[in-house]
Amino acid sequence: MTSDTVISCKNVWKIFGADPEGYLAKMPAGRSFDEIRADGYIAGVKDVSIEVSRGEMLVIMGLSGSGKSTLVRCFSRLHEITGGTIEVEGQDIMSLSEKELIDLRRNKMGMVFQSFGLLPHRTVLDNVAFPLEMRGQDKHERRARAMEVVKLVGLEGREDYFPRELSGGQQQRVGIARSLAIEPDIWFLDEPFSALDPLIRREMQDEFLRLQDLLGKTIVFITHDFDEALRLADRIAIMKDGAVEQCDTPDQIVLNPATEYVRKFTEEIDKARVVHAGVLAKSDVTASGEPVEATATVQELARLLVQDTRDSIPVTRDGNVIGGMNRAEALEILLEAG
């Protein structure tokens, strides 16, 4: 584990049922999800090992019931895990006392919920100030801070409204503001935009990217929408039946799906929009002529790829050539999608 690892979980299990611990202890290794279910237990999280680095945005995705929400709730110990270890900033969270856990949540973690989880009897400002109130900050100070965050999410002027007086998008802005009020290091978002209309969802994603540019938090983001995952993620973890099928960058997931399930998942995706030149560049391939940027997607390079005659094209990152991209390979990706 490097010093920059914020969340590290090893062989984490979360089993629901009558006696999960006892069952896990005597369960034979390599039991599948369906076999466990036949035994009368549900494997919410099944032997997951995953790390999240500082400032990284990890998107966990999967269909409903795949265990993604359960996993993220294990990270914050909203669920007690059945087996394995979870360390947050080097500390085993399962060993924390109740008070320490509350302190951790009060100072380090923020979470946004799918159906917002706002308190109906509190105004926008009071909802946002709620975590500050819980840790005992005085009224004046917490209102000032809450006001700051309310402005940040663009709800100025609505601070005295009650949640039911706001639209869904606005309510989620309140949820986001609340999760940011304590200036958390780690930010959990559980399908924050799934309950919103497509247009609003797009707008909120932009807003979210703006905030992330501004704040640079460590983020675990859950979604069932692949497009959303591709748009936001540094890395994507794809879950099925409680287990992580593959955890990698978007490029690698579409280029080299680890399992049949992931391949099926990515089948419909326009790969040219996902794959970057930097990924295709191989350092042992030398190329000459006008270089392309590593951050450009294949789609953005389409015209060049079709018209150019070179076999390989040099790729640069921050001004330095990092290798050559095989033009035929890139064209293949472009055409496959068409």
């Binding site: 909203l78 009060r106 919920f113």
Partner: protein, 661 residues
């Protein structure tokens, strides 16, 4: 759906015998036993349990009570509690009707009370509610019932908050601790079917006669629904809101105080509404243990057949009930509104300012004008005598007299009395078997076993005949109520407009304290058997009509549209589509009607019946605690049998029809 069907199918067969067949066999045995009795072949011991075999439950209970009361020192404890309660009641009594106790500043002028009620009404529901609030108190004062109404209110304002806090506390406990919940559930369902007389006597014995015992009985009576609503509300709080609270770093206490309780606001306020209504219903009934107030006055007036005054008191009680109900319901739906920035303080707290202002204003006015303080004996507008004459005149009109006379004679002699005698002629074991068959057929094996045990206990109690008479009143009243209530409901459900109107009437009628239902019964039929049936009948008709309308109105629209498109006539649609689908909901109404009937039959004992109610009422005069409990539990057991069976059938049926809960 498929699962539910399988469950039903598997439950239908018990030990190779289907439920229907089992029920038929039981009925068969019962018929044979009855016939044997008719031809005189049945041994007397099988007809009725011999006196010698009745265990002296009452004596045993008395022993237990005496042990708890004296040896365990419970009496000392309750007498100690009495002191505190007494003090509270003295304070409210002083404030509301000027009883000479500390703080010796009352009574509050009636004008001030009416004004504050008006302001609160306006805050909760606009002008209409303001008129209702102020109007109720103005009527009470003008009709000359201010003092007795305030006697009643002084107990209510102590009992209702007490019941609220105890219920809330126990509700939270039941939600937190599953074992406590499991322990308290059966106790609550018994408490809710226990006739109110059973609450009264222990209250009298453990707490002094008068307002204190009245307050205690009222409080205990109102607690169960508060517990249920609290638990329900807390369980319904969305998990995400709770998680949001946890992620905000709430401690357990903060989570309860700032997240759970406010999020369960609606259910808790519905609980408050029920607490208030039950308190009012009960506080009126505490007249039976000598609690002064509206109930006592009504009892006295009805006893001396002063119908005009009874009617006026009835109106006061009804107005109070409607006002309290409407206002607390308005509070349930009232949502906080935000104020724009810079709204001054007095505008944010408009209601408070207005209420205090009005209160002080009328306080000062009443110093100058004595009529604004209290209305004297001769200053009221009571029309008791005139109304009396009017009513008696109406009853003396030949047609009316003929109708009521006919009903009295025909229904009584031709239907009710033969039916009662028939029920009484069934041998005890046969009767128990019939009830068991009923429970088996509708509910299932578990319900049948309960029915068997419960009715055997009733037989063992030694009050079989009186229990059967109680049951007879309930059955005949509910049967007649069905004859009127069901067609009314079906007719009303045909149009949106009439559904709403009738539902409003039902809702309103349901808030009336049951005592009030005796007034029209006595007016029309005097003090007779048929008046009892009549009062139960109108009381039980309310839930029947109501649930019929609700059941029919909630039949999914696609299904009635499908029936229309299939070319069904209105009658076909009703019989083949709407009624079958509405039946589970209607069964709930039927069940409530039976529960209401059991409740009413005990109150109607006042008119002089021969059932358990009368015996219960007699026990109030003495200190027959054991007997009081045995009688109360008999009623409760019979009511519970029906309750368990019918509700099980209703939920089974709903599941089978895929209607959800």
């Amino acid at each position: 759906m498929a699962d539910a069907a399988e469950v039903l199918a598997s439950e239908a067969k018990i030990g190779g015998i289907s439920r229907t067949l089992g029920a038929q066999i039981l009925v068969g045995i019962a018929v044979v036993l009855t016939i044997l009795h008719y031809v005189g072949l049945l041994p007397e011991a099988l007809f009725r349990l011999p006196e010698t075999m009745v265990p002296p439950f009452a004596v045993w209970l008395d022993v237990i009570f005496n042990f708890v009361k004296d040896d365990l020192g419970l009496l000392a404890l309750t007498r100690f509690l009495t002191e505190g309660l007494q003090w509270l009641l003295d304070v409210t009594a002083n404030l509301l009707f000027g009883k000479r106790r500390w703080p010796n500043i009352g009574p509050i002028p009636w004008t001030a009370v009416a004004a504050v009620a008006g302001v609160i009404g306006y805050h909760l529901g606009g002008w209409r509610m303001a008129f209702l609030g102020a109007g109720t108190f103005i009527w009470t004062a003008l009709i000359g019932q201010w003092k007795i109404a305030m006697e009643t209110m002084s107990v209510l304002v102590v009992a209702a908050p007490l019941a609220f806090f105890i219920g809330l506390g126990l509700g939270i406990l039941a939600w937190k601790k599953p074992w406590f919940n499991r322990a308290i559930k059966p106790v609550l369902s018994v408490l809710q079917t226990l006739p109110f007389f059973t609450y009264l006597l222990p209250a009298v014995i453990f707490f002094k006669v008068g307002p204190t015992a009245g307050a205690v009985a009222t409080t205990i009576y109102a607690i169960p629904p508060m517990i249920l609503m609290t638990t329900l509300g807390l369980q319904k709080v969305s998990p995400e809101v709770v998680e949001a609270g946890n992620m905000s770093g709430c401690t357990k206490w903060q989570l309860l105080r700032h997240v759970y309780l406010p999020s369960a606001r609606t259910e808790i306020l519905v609980g408050v509404n029920q607490v208030i209504m039950l308190c009012l219903a009960m506080v009126v009934l505490t007249a039976f243990i000598g609690m002064p107030g509206l109930g006592a006055k009504l009892l006295a007036m009805m006893g001396s057949f002063k119908l005009g005054r009874s009617f006026e008191i009835g109106v006061t009680i009804v107005l109070l009930a409607v006002m309290l109900d409407r206002m607390s319901k308005a509070w349930v739906v009232k949502q906080p509104e935000h104020f724009e920035k810079g709204t001054p303080w007095w505008k944010r707290n408009q209601t408070l300012v207005l209420a205090v202002g009005a209160f002080v204003f009328f306080l000062l006015v009443s110093k100058v004008i004595p009529e604004a303080q209290t209305l004297g004996r001769k200053q009221n507008f009571s029309q008791g005598k005139e109304l009396d004459n009017l009513i008696k005149g109406f009853l003396n009109i030949d047609i009316v007299k003929a109708t009521t006379g006919f009903l009295r004679a025909f229904v009584n002699v031709q239907i009710l009395i033969p039916f009662r005698n028939f029920l009484l002629s069934i041998p005890t074991p046969a009767f128990i078997l019939l009830v068991t068959a009923f429970a088996l057929y509708l509910g299932g094996r578990k319900q049948a076993i309960y029915a068997l045990i419960f009715f055997c206990l009733v037989a063992l109690s030694g009050w079989w005949d009186r229990s059967v008479i109680t049951l007879y009143s309930v059955i005949s009243a509910v049967a007649i109520a069905m004859l009127i209530g069901l067609p009314l409901g079906i007719w009303a459900a045909r149009t949106e407009k009439w559904s709403k109107r009738i539902l409003l009437v039902c809702d309103t009628a349901q808030t009336f304290p049951s005592f009030v239902y005796l007034i029209p019964a006595i007016m029309l039929f005097g003090i007779t058997d048929i008046a009892v049936i009549f009062s139960i009948l109108i009381f039980a008709m309310v839930p029947l009509t109501r649930y019929t309308i609700e059941g029919l109105r909630t039949v999914p629209l696609e299904m009635t549209e499908a029936a229309d498109m299939a070319g069904a006539t209105r009658m076909q649609k009703l019989m083949k589509v709407q009624l079958p689908l509405a039946l589970p909901t209607m069964a709930v109404g039927f069940n409530q009607a039976i529960m209401f009937a059991f409740f009413m039959v005990i109150i109607a004992a006042f008119i002089g019946t021969q059932d358990l109610g009368q015996e219960l009422q007699r026990t109030l005069a003495g200190t027959d605690l054991g007997k009081n409990f045995v009688l109360g539990i008999c009623v409760s057991l019979m009511a519970l049998t029906f309750d368990l069976t019918i509700l099980k059938w209703s939920s089974d049926r709903k599941q089978a029809l895929g209607l959800g809960d």
